[in-house]
């Protein structure tokens, strides 16, 4: 493998990793605060991608600006999802909660199939084929924008959790639900916000990702499994872990793909997952460490 190809694989891996982090951060927030495994996470990403597509195609809104339209819609969805589906599900055993979110995931896919058909839809702009060259290697513009948004978002998350009252409350609830309730913290309200913000992050990811890729009813599935791997590798509910896990998965996958065949490379994130589970079952950056 030549140096150019190695550097390109490394850079692509970091870019992909940052995009994966953008998808996984909401998942880890919901899990960290609520201990709910949301299997429908990828489907909300799919809806946000359709949102970005519709805003661009019918309103002529650039995907970067569409973020400000789609993110509030996704937040509202999270808000409604909590009261409509998750709050009742909190009373039932965890396995039933999983069944609820899994069912929701399938329901959303088929609803999308009915509404949007199975066709792939694209956002085509001037910058779809633009790129930033760094010496012999490059990042494509739409991917670069999504990666940059991911870094900004993770920074904001860090600040929110560290410096604001909401962040403090979320950290408290995630450490001990009962303790927080005894201290007079509104648990349901916190959960509702966690769900709204968790899905809201997808409102940022969706429009930016649809301009780099495409959207179809099943596109969310491409990312759900990877997002779970990242969350587990990084440490369930840990934000530092999401970034490290995502970059690790992105780079490992990319370097493996440039070295070996695609089929072998596709197994790499899962091999990594098993390795981490064996050696460090609490994840690379356990949630306690980053709080």
């Amino acid at each position: 493998m030549s140096t150019t190809i190695f550097l390109q694989a490394l850079l692509s891996g970091l870019t992909n990793g940052a995009i994966y982090a953008l998808v996984a951060v909401g998942l880890t927030l919901v899990f960290g605060v609520m201990r709910i495994v949301n299997f429908a996470h990828g489907e909300f990403l799919m809806l946000a991608m359709y949102g970005g597509y519709l805003a661009f195609t019918f309103l002529g809104i650039d995907p970067i600006l569409a973020v400000f339209l789609v993110a509030p819609v996704l937040m509202l969805m999270g808000y409604l999802l909590f009261d409509g589906l998750i709050r009742p599900a909190l009373k039932v055993p965890e396995i039933n909660q999983m069944a609820v979110t899994l069912g929701l995931s399938l329901l959303l896919q088929y609803l999308a199939l009915v509404v949007f058909k199975a066709d792939n839809l694209l956002v085509t702009q001037e910058r779809s084929t633009a790129s930033i060259w760094l010496g012999p290697v490059l990042i494509q513009m739409p991917q670069a924008i999504a990666a940059l948004a991911s870094i900004i978002l993770l920074g904001l998350f860090y600040l929110t959790l560290r410096k604001t009252d909401l962040g403090l409350i979320m950290r408290v609830v995630s450490q001990s639900r009962d303790g927080a309730a005894l201290s007079g913290i509104d648990i349901s309200g916190t959960y509702r916000w966690a769900m709204a913000i968790g899905l809201g992050t997808l409102g940022i990811a969706g429009p930016l990702m649809v301009s780099a890729l495409y959207v179809n009813p099943h596109v969310g599935q491409l990312f759900t499994l990877k997002a779970f791997v990242i969350v587990i590798v990084g440490g369930m509910g840990s934000f530092g872990g999401v970034l490290i896990g995502a970059l690790l998965v992105g780079v490992a996958e990319s370097i493996a793909a440039s070295w070996l065949t695609a089929s072998v490379a596709a197994a790499v994130p899962f091999a990594l997952l098993i390795l981490v589970m064996l050696l460090r079952p609490e994840g690379l950056v356990p949630a306690g460490g980053s709080r």
Partner: protein, 406 residues
């Protein structure tokens, strides 16, 4: 001893049952009796949308045949399609083929979309001496294992590399030289079948393969693969990818200012999604079994009739094949002057369609060799100004290929 006698009796009975149709004149010989053709299509399951599309083409052929006076040598007998849903499952395809042959007494069968659902049905038909016309399956073995009753209007999978080499040879005579090839294929069964075909054919035809990349469907970023293709020194890129991956790949090529001669594979490339990628897909080629703009009178008439029957719809290549498959069986029955299965089989082996409404496919002649395979060919289309246009072979091309650098 008693048991033995019964066995013998049974054997006799069975023999009589087998011989009966031969002794007693077949009901099908009555002049007004319809010609029954069984149509195996998936109408539910994963291939449902494909099956429903195929059925429209079968039905259009039947409608056109009946509107023009039915099977003339049989006194204007109507063509009757006995349609069955194979549920996208090989075992259902097999059982339904059996049912159509034994219960519905069809004279011939046509179908059955994918290779996986076609193989069991074709085997059943062959065993029951019933002509089976393959509509769309490309598995090589179907017309290589000596099945006497199986016929195919479609191409064989292993011929694709040859078509591309022929096309590149043709480009050379026009002064557009492509010498070295890079491959990029998806890592599923379809992509890998195409890949092994290309790797076995292209070097022998004077097109060395410099790099051979695989990728997974849903890959979010093709930068590394495109860097490899670009730095390999190849000037031709052959791919097999699903439409969504093609768009990401084509944009990655454009982002690196790499404009090789690009040939995508089949209906997954010759697709609205790929055109929607805009400029990156412009001037790319696709190898496909048929194209609606094909410069052939019967083909244009088929597209027109299809649009009239289904407003707003343009038929796809497999629909043209299903249309031709139905027509070929009707023409064979006409030539045989019979609805008898063996007579139709005999007629198929000497059938030669060069014109008329069934001459829809790009090959100049539709006939079947001793293995039941037709000398099919593919066409090369090129994305020019937001449309796929047939550019090769010359005989059916709408226009010559445009230069790769748009």
């Amino acid at each position: 001893m008693t048991k033995f006698t019964i066995d013998r009796r049974q054997t006799l009975l069975m023999g009589a049952a087998v011989a009966m149709p031969a002794i007693i004149p077949s009901r099908g010989r009555a002049a007004t009796e319809a010609l029954k053709i069984g149509v195996l299509v998936p109408m539910t399951g994963v291939h449902a949308s494909d099956g429903i599309r195929m059925l429209k083409a079968h039905q259009l052929a039947a409608k056109m045949i009946n509107a023009s006076g039915g099977i003339k040598s049989l006194g204007g007998a109507k063509l009757e399609l006995v349609v069955t849903d194979i549920q996208s499952k090989p075992e259902v395809s097999r059982a339904e083929a059996e049912r159509l042959i034994s219960r519905e007494r069809v004279s011939a069968l046509a179908g059955a979309w994918a290779s996986a659902t076609t193989i069991p049905a074709a085997q059943i038909a062959d065993r029951n001496r019933t002509p089976f016309m393959i509509t769309s399956a490309v598995n090589d073995a179907l017309t290589e294992q000596g099945m006497k009753y199986v016929f195919r209007t479609a191409v064989k999978a292993k011929w694709f590399g040859g078509y591309i080499a022929d096309f590149l040879d043709y480009q050379k005579t026009k002064g557009i030289a492509v010498g070295k090839i890079a491959l990029a294929t998806e890592d599923g069964p379809a992509g890998q079948a195409v890949r092994s075909n290309y790797t076995s054919v292209m070097p022998g035809r004077g097109y060395p393969i410099l790099t051979d990349e695989t990728f997974r469907t849903g890959t979010p970023d093709f930068s590394t693969i495109v860097t490899k293709l670009r730095t390999s020194g190849a000037d031709g890129v052959l791919t097999c990818a699903y439409a969504e991956d093609s768009t990401v790949l084509l944009r990655a090529l454009a982002a690196q200012n790499f404009r090789p001669l690009y040939v995508g594979f089949g209906g997954a490339h010759v697709n609205q999604t790929v055109l929607a990628a805009g400029k990156p897909s412009d001037r790319t080629f696709g190898v496909v079994e048929w194209s609606p703009d094909l410069n052939k009178p019967a083909s244009l008439a088929f597209v027109k009739a299809f649009a009239e029957a289904h407003p707003g719809e343009t038929p796809l290549s497999n629909q043209a094949q299903a249309f031709v498959a139905t027509y070929a069986l009707a023409l064979a029955a006409d030539a045989a002057k019979s609805t008898d299965r063996n007579a139709i089989r005999e007629a198929l082996t000497s059938l030669k369609i060069t014109d008329g409404p069934a001459a829809v496919l790009p090959a100049p002649v539709l006939s079947f060799d001793e293995q039941g395979q037709s000398p099919s060919t593919c066409v090369i289309v090129q994305a020019i100004d937001g449309k796929f246009v047939t550019v090769w072979p010359e005989a059916v091309a709408v226009r010559p290929p445009a230069p790769v650098q748009g």
